[in-house]
Subunit: 330 residues, 4 copies
């Protein structure tokens, strides 16, 4: 009996999930899809023979032919829909963020009440390179981790992106990755402005630099540059007492041409992380099949990432002050 | 309706296929398994809930709950079992080689009679790096391919390996990859002996060097070194008129420690090619589902690779003469 | 007529300079050497046939057979000896630092009074990789520089190294390199403590992280880790508006062995920067020959680096406050 | 007393040598220059203050102000001029080839009569990467060498280049490098034609592939591609019993821009090997100063390389037959 999955929100991410589940994940069948754009729903419903279109998210969640739900709709809808899944007793994979504010995220965690139904889509945890990075960093083979260097570069920001979005929408991946890498929560942050690129929208400071300190004392430098132009690129190095480890650029081929030897960058995150989404979905489905706790990020992880993002925004708005991360009580 | 698959032969390769199909391939269910070792069959039957144990390959092939068959049993059984699948009208994925000799392989191709039921397990075609290499080489962006350099290195040979095995059991992957890369069959070969490693069994010349010429005039240097000791490593570069392209070493992390910066080699082919097997199996299942021709190597490709292997053995036995490849008439 | 050079201080650095001048630099002859350790002087005097031993630095400076002087003696002697060279009207290449404090360095700059006689031994300016990095960063091909990432790692600290030494003795190279790379002085700094390595002496915070802001608004993250254990390693990346450029690890060979592909790290800075010293000395001698202004760092550059170092120490002692760099008036 | 050097032939190579000796080599002074093109001689004589112009090579060789001679004139003049140097009892650094044919080269060796005056300009021996490659290969750390892979690629051939020139003018570097790497002479060769590039002159087979066997049994694959278009590139890997070692691409910076990460290729051999020429010249001068045997390739090495080139041409002209290398008796 495969897991019957309903997918809410069929934008780039949601549609990718539907196709990945349908074509590359064992023991999963997409039975329902829905989107606020009726045309999108109809198209995907026609493409995926196993799936029919639900009229809206709530109907989909409560459908008897849906065992588990993926929420990939607009960020503002995540908290309400995830809470509805909890009420319906169904496992849900919610794209980040869990909620627009950490207070609202805390509300969802409270509603979940330890049931373990919510998984957060922090896909990097399933990227083989980041998984190996974490495994080496935590192995002790290089001594204790002391310092982490992160660079997160996109080609171009979405229209209307402002400085806060760079933190809550892009750097939030680092806010989950760093504690997961180190096994220690981020407790203190500060925000710093490099020279501003002359190529970016007016309301946007880009690039940005953040310092993140985890409870174990490790310091992380996190660069976010969402108009880096040259390609989509994520780098991470963990510096330990007797050695250092970093993720490699994942290339298939190297080309010599026109006076240069080179490898390619993708123009967005999808080619870079396609396989991590497949692995994430497979792990999620496998855990549902076997009744195991989710191996994905939890609602509490999502809450923690939101609280860090808010602390960084506070630092930015106060001219770079060091700010303590506060997680709302549940 | 998923494709119901029976797997014959549960050694390393066969057991891997069962687990991959079961845990990571969409639209597939393993319904039957069998092995000449009854204990192995029983273990895997117990591990995979959907699968029951057939008494032998022939029973499995003719089972009504088997839509498609994988042959991963001893090389000597491939031809007979593949022919039985053809007779039963069932798609079959046969591990290489199709048959011990090109004459026997030609018999299987004749028996298949154009039905397109047989796929050969030349998994490299589904490795993302080799797929990208081929795509770049055939794109014309670098002009026409002129020369190919291959190195194929294993850590250690199986006990009893002799010089012919290095050709028919290991280099045979190159005999399929080169024509697939270039879109042109191998027509002429010669075999050459580098200095023999002092660490290898007595009957084995290791490493070996082969020159392979395809019908388009491109020359390939193919090194096979099955006791290379340092790790499992496959390299390939295609030199074209205005540039060159090569597969990169597929690493996830780079480690700095003890005076060195380095990346790891796996000790055998499985970590290197695990994802290619998953993709191959998914592509095979997908083609069966949709009734499309197999995107895998065909029986005719398997026959061609066997004919090349025989020509190389002939060159070896004649002191390195240039030998024309002869494909038996069907 | 070759330039007749006297070398004061024959420790590792001074003795290297003598041998490089003698064996690999055109138009230079080492005529005098001296060291507070008489045995050392005698040994080098015997090794280098052209050189005789002076009784002390002052005598060497005023010797008629000395056209130009290299100061590689203890840091505490630099200011006095450099000033003596200025008084004698002789070009002098002084190892960093120019003086123990920026006030004393300012005194030397005042004494020099624009004569241009003093060069500072910031050898990285003559490293081909750093020179190319600067050339690309300043070319405008990648747009304007916005952000710089530096890592400076040594194997092991000298006995007795404390946290201030890591700044004034090691990071001081970055304090010269960054303004030289960007063509803009460092105006503001802050100091931050990553997790402290458990392997380092008690009085030492190691690693350290500094943020350096240049007048052009560019922000630099500078990691100094003087007990990094794995090897001597200096990395630098300049992130610009449309691209990024970094120095590569300078390797001659790559070795595959024992399950790894790897390159070596040297155990100290000398193999990494040997060629930069040769180029620096050749450039210095060439400028003296032709009467051109020194292409090396000047006394004023040395003063600026000392002022930055002091600001960083101030930040460290005040718990990481942002500190403005103050250059003493001359 | 520096070594007083005269340089015959002021084309690209000769003029480079003059400038390198003058500006970057210790203990050398260029006292005489000459070229069949009087304008060239005059220009360089004016540029280099220490040098005056000799009327021709013979006059230069016999000049009392010349201690040692560099021959960088046309290939056809090498044998006669080198022999004149021997007669004059002066050390001579002769660019390759020693002579147009191995018979003529043997005549020069005979004339030298063991005096050790002649050095051959096989500069790769002084490239730090090739030197390290040789050191690792001969260390035994990776077991015995078994197989060597060489690729030698230029951007574009000189007008009028034919297939023999690719062997005698370009691959001849490999014919010296391989025996030097392995410590064993080349005894047997064969020549093979990959697909011919459609971009090359009519009389030229390009690329070419050669198999070279040394007396120790090691086999070398040597690709020469003089119209490779993408850049000047020399690669070499030595495969040993328990590991492999290869020269790395010598890059100073890596650039990320326009969807690619890349490093540059030079457009000809000079930037790649500039430092090897400086080291070669310094080593040559140093040996003359100290009266030591030359650390450069000898006349006998030059003879051996010419004999290998002739054997490869013979193989080419006989359709790829295996040919034994014959060194003329002296």
């Amino acid at each position: 009996m495969p897991v019957r999955i309903g997918v809410i929100g069929l934008g780039v991410m949601g549609a990718d999930h539907v196709r990945t589940l349908h074509g590359m994940v064992a023991n999963a069948v997409v039975t329902r899809v829905t989107d606020i754009n009726a045309e999108r729903s109809a198209q995907l419903g026609a493409e995926i023979e196993s799936a029919t279109v639900s009229s809206d998210g709530m109907e989909l969640i409560n459908d008897r032919d849906v065992d588990a739900v993926i929420i990939a709709s607009h960020d503002s809808t995540h908290a309400e829909l995830a809470t509805a899944c909890v009420k319906a007793g169904k496992p849900v994979l919610c794209e980040k963020p869990l909620a627009p504010t950490s207070d609202e995220a805390a509300g969802v965690v409270a509603a979940e009440n330890g049931a373990g139904l919510i998984s957060l889509g922090f896909n990097r945890r399933f990227d083989p390179a980041f998984a190996e990075l974490r495994s080496v960093a935590q192995s002790g083979d290089l001594g204790a981790p002391l310092l982490v260097h992160f660079s997160h570069r996109n080609v171009e920001s979405y229209p209307g992106a402002d400085s806060a979005f760079s933190i809550t929408g892009s750097a939030i991946h680092e806010f989950d990755t760093v504690p997961w890498l180190l096994g220690s929560p981020i407790v203190e942050v500060s925000w710093h402005a490099p020279k501003r690129s002359g190529r970016v929208p007016e309301k946007l400071q880009d690039p940005q630099l953040m310092l993140l300190r985890t409870a174990d004392g490790v310091l992380t430098t996190a660069e976010t540059f969402i108009n880096a132009a040259f390609g989509y690129d994520v780098r991470c190095e963990v510096v330990c007492e007797t050695g250092a480890v970093q993720v490699t650029k994942p290339d298939h081929t190297t080309v010599d041409v026109s006076g240069r030897r080179g490898t390619r960058y993708p123009s967005d995150w999808r080619p870079r992380f396609a396989d991590s989404y497949r692995r994430e979905l497979q792990a999620w489905v496998g855990a549902i099949m076997s009744g195991s706790p989710t191996p994905l990020a939890t609602a509490r992880d999502g809450l923690a990432a939101s609280a860090v993002a808010e602390a960084v925004v506070t630092s930015m708005n106060s001219g770079g002050k060091t700010v303590t991360v506060t997680i709302p009580e549940i």
